[in-house]
């Protein structure tokens, strides 16, 4: 998010504790982002009903929209567009380890449990 559109509320969190805050402006921004989130939730539902020819594509599109929504929440609602370096360092490790964990299922392909073992 561009620095110029930053809300006084978000700004006040870090720089000036007693700075006056434009409450109406802040709430307007939050409502706008909330509206986008609702809109994209509706789009997720609608997209799930469309047949893209392959179910994998449906899953991909659904997860892409969810990721975009998560980006909106974390950047604007959680102020990650304007945070101190330490937080990004913590999150960098989280992303690396989180992503590694999500790809653990590759192991299931490389070392599958054979049906004969379970019989």
């Amino acid at each position: 998010m561009d620095h110029s559109t930053e809300t006084p509320a978000a700004h006040g969190a870090h720089d000036s504790h007693d700075a006056p805050v434009d409450l109406a402006k802040s709430i307007r921004l939050y409502l706008k982002v909330g509206g986008y989130l609702i809109l994209f939730t509706c789009i997720t539902w609608a997209v799930a009903l469309i047949d893209f020819g392959s179910h994998a594509l449906n899953i991909g599109i659904g997860l892409a929209i969810a990721t975009f929504k998560v980006a909106l929440v974390s950047l604007i609602f959680m102020h990650l567009n304007h945070e101190r370096g330490l937080v990004y360092k913590v999150l960098l490790f989280t992303v690396i380890f989180g992503a590694a964990m999500m790809f653990l299922f590759v192991l299931a392909y490389l070392d599958p449990i054979k049906a004969s073992l379970t019989n």
């Binding site: 509320a9 805050v21 939730t41 609602f77 937080v87």
Partner: protein, 519 residues
């Protein structure tokens, strides 16, 4: 003690301490939910059954998404209100946030309730019937009556116990007939069960009596085993000599060691002489114990019911097996009588033949013969549409998961006219599935399939986060005024940290909703 850096930033981190703390905590939370999402992927790609798609009602999940997004906006507004020193606005926004949390949990509860009252029977041939139990219809609700997951045994006149294993816990299944429509009412407290033991004495069958019998039997067995050990020791030399003799003509012959045999014989004689006293004492002790409590002499104890025969209604998970005359419990208790009402009553609403060996001969048609023609007519229609849309699959459409989902899993509502369906859903129209026809029977709880297991695990854990977050935010709302007067920035920071957790809860739901409800 003053906690440092609750309001101002720490120079080295540039952040107030609680913020560093919450981000580290959220990082660990990402790993927690990441692990569960990873498990979900494992379960889904490894599933040996059709992974449920679009089986959950989307609307409650959709409304819950709206509710959480709304609460994220209000929790931010509450924080911004504190920054703007508008305490009234803070209160209003925080209150709305908490109401949203309550609404979320109520909707979740509604969904869970629906799942716990929806049942699924997997037949022996793999066919599946989902539906409701007639006893769950409010007008027909009688919890003490037969419910499908229980087997009723009437005219019980003989009870067999294994004193080495059995407990008296089977007595909790004792039922009495309270009225014509309540044949399986709970036995009132203090109900006495009188039995006759093999030696003709009468006793009151209860926990204490069984416990005392088991104790006597255990004592007796301990002495018997002591005696057996001594006798085995005395017999051991003779056994060894016999083995030595046999080895002479074995595949790998060993010459007979006469000196060793002689030594062993002498050993046996000595042992017999030295143990004589001990054996006598033990034998006397056994005789004494057997006489003191002749009922507990052997492990198996057959009891005859005195007076009117008994009735039991046993939960399926509590017994090991049963036949037309007996219910055998896992702890070897055997009740002998007449099995009644072992069928599973069901008002089906979904027929799923995706796992059926042969849909034409599915066991479902034994119970719903009238639905066979509409089912296959519907299947043909779906197939026609599918092939038209995907001409490349004209020859192998049966392998297509979408086709299977559309053609072989059908809601009965779609097959028949509305009034016919309504009639089928009436308790009186319930089918009675023979227990021998079912392979698996459960409500839509975690035991139904790995899909429902991980659905309840993840949404349940998420729900706990909603409750935890709401408690913290509620605490700020209730106790915030004093802190606001003392140091409003401190309260704002607290609300910011609570809000960050709340956004994380929202963020997890943003993934949970499509993953479980839509994809």
């Amino acid at each position: 003690m003053e906690i440092p850096y609750t309001v101002t930033a720490r120079p080295d981190t540039g952040l107030y301490n609680a913020k560093v703390g919450i981000w580290l905590f959220l990082a660990s939370e990402v790993m927690l939910f990441g692990g569960l999402f990873s498990s979900y992927v494992f379960l889904r790609i490894g599933a040996d059954f059709p992974w449920p798609r679009h089986e959950l009602h989307v609307l409650p999940g959709f409304i819950n998404t709206m509710v959480l997004i709304g609460s994220s906006v209000t929790v931010l507004s509450a924080w911004a209100s504190l920054k703007a020193r508008r305490y009234g606005w803070f209160q209003i926004n925080m209150l709305i946030t908490l109401l949203c949390a309550a609404a979320f949990m109520c909707i979740k509860g509604y969904e869970y309730y629906g799942k716990f009252h929806h049942y699924s029977v997997i037949m022996q041939d793999g066919s599946v019937l989902d539906g409701h139990r007639p006893s769950d219809h409010p007008e027909n609700y009688a919890p003490e009556s037969h419910n499908g997951d229980k087997v009723a045994l009437t005219d019980v006149n003989a009870i067999s116990l294994n004193l080495a294993k059995s407990e008296a816990s089977f007595l909790k299944h004792l039922r009495v007939s309270a009225a014509a429509d309540k044949p399986y009412a709970e036995a009132p407290a203090g109900t006495v069960v009188k039995v006759r033991t093999p030696d003709g004495t009468e006793a009151e069958l209860n926990q204490d009596w069984v416990k005392s019998l088991k104790k006597s039997y255990r004592n007796l067995e301990n002495v018997r085993s002591d005696l057996a050990i001594i006798k085995e020791r005395i017999d051991s030399p003779a056994k060894q000599i016999a083995e030595m003799k046999a080895a002479v003509t074995g595949t790998y012959p060993i010459p007979f060691d006469a000196a060793k045999a002689e030594k062993l014989t002498a050993q046996a004689v000595e042992l017999r002489a030295s143990s004589k006293e001990k054996i006598k004492t033990l034998e006397d002790k056994i005789a004494e114990l057997e006489q003191a409590n002749p009922v507990a002499k052997a492990a198996t104890l057959n009891l005859q019911v005195v007076g009117a025969p008994l009735t039991f209604l046993v939960d399926e998970r509590d017994f090991a097996k049963y036949n037309a005359k007996e219910i055998i419990f896992r702890d070897d208790v055997v009740l002998t009588g007449t099995v009644k009402n072992d069928a599973i009553p069901l008002n089906a609403d979904v027929i799923d033949l995706r796992q059926s060996k042969d849909p034409e001969k599915s066991l479902v048609w034994k119970y719903y013969p009238q639905l066979k023609d509409p089912f296959f007519k519907h299947k043909e229609e779906v197939t026609g549409q599918f092939v038209k849309k995907h001409p490349e699959h004209a020859n192998d459409f049966e392998k297509d998961l979408d086709w299977q989902h559309e053609a072989l899993r059908v809601e009965i509502e779609e097959l028949v006219a509305e009034d016919v369906y309504k009639k089928l859903e009436e308790p009186g129209e319930a089918i009675n599935i023979e227990r021998s026809d079912k392979r698996f029977y459960s409500n839509f709880s975690p035991s139904r399939s790995p899909y429902y297991a991980i659905y309840f695990l993840m949404t349940g854990l998420h729900g706990l986060h909603v409750i935890g977050g709401a408690i913290v935010l509620g605490y700020f709302l209730l106790t915030g005024r004093a802190m606001y007067k003392r140091n409003p920035e401190h309260l704002a920071n607290r609300v910011e940290v609570g809000g960050l957790f709340w956004h994380f809860v929202d963020l997890v739901w943003i993934f949970l909703f499509p993953v479980f409800y839509l994809l």
